[in-house]
Symmetry: C2
Subunit: 79 residues, 2 copies
Amino acid sequence: MQNEKDKVDFLIQFGSNFGKIRKMKNLSFRALSQKCDLDYADLNKIEKGKRNITLTTIAELARGLNVHPKELFDFDFTP
Amino acid sequence: MQNEKDKVDFLIQFGSNFGKIRKMKNLSFRALSQKCDLDYADLNKIEKGKRNITLTTIAELARGLNVHPKELFDFDFTP
């Protein structure tokens, strides 16, 4: 079971990896928001690890980035 | 952008893949619920694709199953 710190860390890792992919794809928040149903402010908060997004939002993000959702979880994790 | 059907399909695919991993690990819902902070009814609904869970719940599920969260997304997806 995870404590509060584990949860915060997980959101930060997800956000930071999302940022890495976004930059690799040369997409600004604005450009990305035009490719998916998430606005600039949402994307910014997700990247900062300040949003606990749901499965369908993960799918939306993956579509916007044109990646498999798996790639959004491509970071170290100890179960 | 995804329509309602895409969203429902994504939840169903996630649930079905979760079920595959759970069975591969020989874990009943009850056994799994003892390994993580999710109860029997939650797990059952997730497996049926009836729950749009958040990132931290995905992490909790991964810890319970002792897998990387990536494995929970190991299914076909066309961005």
